[in-house]
Symmetry: C2
Subunit: 402 residues, 2 copies
C-alpha cells in the first residue's frame, strides 16, 4: 500500500529524535531544561475556563463555519485597539493559526505554485507547503545583522510566473526579527508591483520589545486587496491548547472562497470559541505584564550569550526566541552530545537545531534556536549550562569547532 508523494515529502519534527534520548537520561536522574519548543509557561488567563464553566448548553451543536459572531466581534475589538479597522466579515475563525495558513495555501495556490519566504523560517511552513503541493522559495537572512531583509533586488530575483504570494512572519519565529517600516515597504512594493498576496503571520504581535514599534502591512490601505493576516491566540494568551486562529482580509473575493474551506470542515470547537471570547476582551495590562516578563528573560539570555566566546546573535526585537550561531560545525551533534554526554551539576539543556528552519537541511548547521519559555532564573542556569557545554565540547571535539 503506497502513500502519496506529497505526504512522503513532509518531515517529522527534527526534535522527535531527541526525545528518546532525553527520556533515557531523565530516567538516570539528569535534569533537562527544555528550550526547544514554543510552549510558554505563562499562565493561561483564568477567564477562559471561567467562561467555559458557565456554559449550560443542552446540545453542543455546530457553530457557523466562519466562527461565532461574539468571537469575531471580540477579535475586531482587539484589532480596533491596535488601530486596525476590521469588520466581522473580514474574519474567518480557524482551528489555530495552522489551519489559517493551510487554508490560505490551498486558497491562493494551485499545485506547483510558489510562495516566497525569508529564511530561516518557521519549520511548519515547509510541512504545510508539502501537504498542499506548494513550493516555498526562500531568500536568506542572517544572524550577523539581526536577520534584516536583503536588498529588494535579491528578493525580486526569486519571483517567477508561478509566485502567488510572499509569506512574512512578524515578529519572526525563529529569528525574533521585527520588520522596520522600510522593510515592510519592500514587501508592500513587491506585492503591489507583482500582484502577489502578502501573507503576514503575526501570532507573536504582542511580543515586540520596547526598542522597536510593531508595524504591519495591515496599516496600509493600499494593501487591502493583497493583504492576508494570519493570527492565533496560542502564544499571545498562552493558550496553545485552545485551537483558535484567524484569517483576516479585506479582499472579499478571496474571503468568499476561503469560507468554502471553513464550510468543508463544518465548524471550529464550540467550547474553544466561547472561551476565547474572554481572551480577546483582555486589555493592554495583560500584554504589558507578559511582555515585562519576556523582556526580563531576553535580557538575561542576551547578556549570557554575548559573554560566550564565538557566539553570534543580535538581541531579538520580538517573539521569545534567540536564533544563535554557535562556534561549532554541527549543531545536531552538539545538541545530542549535550543530552547524552554533558551535564553541569547534574543538569543539561535541550535546544532546537536550526537546520529545521531552512528549506535546505544543509543550511543552518552551526545555528540553534533557544526558546525563552522558562522563568528568568531557569534561563540563567540554562545559559550557564550552555556556556560550559560549549567549552567542554570544544575540548572534546576541537575539529568540530570553529
Amino acid at each position: 500500500m503506497e502513500t502519496s508523494q506529497r505526504i512522503k515529502k513532509m518531515s517529522e519534527p527534527a526534535l522527535l529524535k531527541y526525545y528518546a534520548l532525553v527520556d533515557s537520561v531523565q530516567k538516570k536522574g539528569k535534569k533537562v531544561y527544555f528550550l526547544n519548543i514554543g510552549q510558554p509557561d505563562i499562565q493561561t488567563p483564568k477567564g477562559f475556563l471561567e467562561r467555559v464553566n458557565c456554559l449550560n448548553e443542552k446540545v453542543l451543536s455546530y457553530q457557523a463555519p466562519e466562527g461565532i459572531i461574539p468571537l469575531r466581534e471580540a477579535a475586531c475589538g482587539y484589532y480596533g485597539r491596535l488601530g486596525l479597522n476590521y469588520l466581522i466579515e473580514d474574519l474567518l475563525v480557524t482551528s489555530g493559526g495552522s489551519e489559517a495558513l493551510l487554508f490560505t495555501f490551498i486558497g491562493i495556490c494551485n499545485p506547483g505554485d510558489e510562495i516566497l519566504v525569508a529564511e530561516p523560517l518557521y519549520s511548519i511552513y515547509k510541512e504545510m507547503a508539502a501537504a498542499t503541493d506548494v513550493k516555498l522559495v526562500g531568500f536568506k537572512t542572517y544572524a550577523e545583522d539581526g536577520f534584516a531583509l536583503p536588498d529588494i533586488s535579491i528578493i525580486e530575483a526569486a519571483i517567477t510566473p508561478k509566485t502567488r504570494g510572499i509569506l512574512m512572519t512578524n515578529p519572526g519565529n525563529p529569528t525574533g526579527k521585527v520588520f522596520t517600516a522600510k522593510e515592510i515597504g519592500v514587501y508592500i512594493d513587491l506585492a503591489l508591483k507583482h500582484d502577489l498576496y502578502l501573507i503576514s503571520d503575526e501570532v507573536y504581535r504582542e511580543f515586540v520589545y520596547k526598542d522597536q514599534a510593531y508595524l504591519s502591512p495591515a496599516q496600509y490601505p493600499e494593501m487591502s486587496q493583497n493583504f492576508i493576516l494570519i493570527d492565533s491566540i496560542s502564544k499571545r494568551y498562552s493558550a496553545c491548547g485552545v485551537r483558535i486562529g484567524l484569517i483576516v482580509s479585506k479582499n472579499k473575493v478571496l474571503m468568499k472562497q476561503l469560507k468554502k474551506l471553513c464550510q468543508m470542515r463544518l465548524a471550529v470547537s464550540t467550547v474553544d470559541q466561547l472561551g476565547a471570547v474572554s481572551l480577546f476582551e483582555l486589555d493592554q495590562h495583560f500584554f504589558d505584564d507578559t511582555l515585562k516578563e519576556y523582556t526580563h528573560r531576553r535580557e538575561i539570555v542576551n547578556t549570557a550569550l554575548q559573554e560566550i566566546p564565538g557566539v553570534i546573535c543580535k538581541e531579538p526585537k520580538g517573539a521569545f526566541y534567540f536564533m544563535v550561531k554557535l562556534p561549532i560545525k554541527n549543531a545536531c551533534h552538539f545538541i545530542e552530545w549535550m543530552i547524552t554526554d554533558f551535564e553541569y551539576k547534574g543538569e543539561t539543556v535541550l535546544l532546537s537545531p536550526a537546520n529545521d528552519f531552512y528549506l535546505n537541511p544543509d543550511d543552518g548547521a552551526d545555528e540553534v534556536r533557544i526558546a525563552c519559555v522558562l522563568n528568568g532564573e531557569e534561563m540563567r542556569i540554562a545559559m550557564e549550562i550552555l556556556k560550559r557545554g560549549l567549552a567542554a565540547y570544544g575540548c572534546a571535539f576541537p575539529e568540530a569547532c570553529k
Copy 2:
C-alpha cells in the same frame, strides 16, 4: 488577485441560498421545520461539560499531535466493546471527522489520483476532494432498491490506474444504507484485488436499526493493511460542536505518514479532548436510548412517506436520514416554493435538495433528503406539511410533476 483553481472548484453548500428566504418568511411569522441539516436535537451527555468543569490547568498547552493518551485509551475501550481490537498506536485524534478525511485524502492521493465512491454521497466529500486535488469517481445506487451496491463488475469498471482507494459510508448519509455482509465482501474483494485502500466513514455506526446488524471491514483481519476507519463523536454523542474525530488503521506505514499531518497542525483542542474522554466511556445504555428515539422517528416518517402518492423510498436501515424520490421534476424549485409560497396552518418545512449529493449536479433532481432531527411529534407534523405541500405543488405546477 486570483484565487486557486482548486478552491474555485469547491461549492458553497446548496442550502445557503435558502437561508435568506427562510429568514424573510420567518420574519413574517411563518414557522419552518428544519429537516435540512444533520444537527441532532438530542442532548449532549452531561459528562462532557462536567469533565471540562473539573479542569484546573494552569497552562492550556499543546497536547500530543496524535491526541492525548486518555482519549485514545477511552476510544480503544469503545472499539473493544464493539469487538474491534485496536491499540492506541492505531489511532490518530483529529479535529472532527472532517479533518480525518482531509488528512486521509492528502495522505493516500497525489493530485489527480482517484477515489471511488457510491452515489449519492455525503456532499462534503466533493469539497474535500476539490481542496486536495483528488478526483472522486462515482457509481450509482438507487432509492428503488434501498441503495444496494450494484454488481461488482460495475464498480470494478470504474477503477483506473489512478484509483487509490474506495470510500464507503456505513451507515450512509444521505442514504441510510447499511451494508450487508455480501456488500462489504464486494468492497473487500475489490480493495484486495486492486491493492486499494478501503476507507469506511462510520460516524453513524451507532444508528443501525434493529432489522440489520452493523458490519465493518474492521472485522476482517485480512484487511488490516488496506483498511482506514474514519470516525467522529459528533453524531454518536450529539456533540457536533466538540471537534473530535479519529483516523484508525492497523497500517503502521500509513499511520506514520498521517501522523506528520497531525504534527503539521500541532494539536487538537485540549478541552475538547479531555471532555470527550467522558463520552467514549458511556456504555451501551446511552446508544440504546438514542436509538429508541430515532427508531420512533423513523417509523413515523416512514409511515407518513409511504402514504404520499408517488413517493419512492425504502425505510433506511441506519443513520437518521431519508433519501426520498418525489413525484416532481425539480426538487430545488419545490423546496424553494415550499418556503416562499406554501404553508399549512402557518408552517412549512425546509428539506435538502439531493443534487448536492451527486457528483453531477444534474443528478438527483427529483430527490430530497429529510433529516430526522426533530422529535416524533414535530416529524409527524412536518411530514403532514410535506404531503399537503406536494399536493398543492401538483395543482400549481402540473407540468413540473411526474
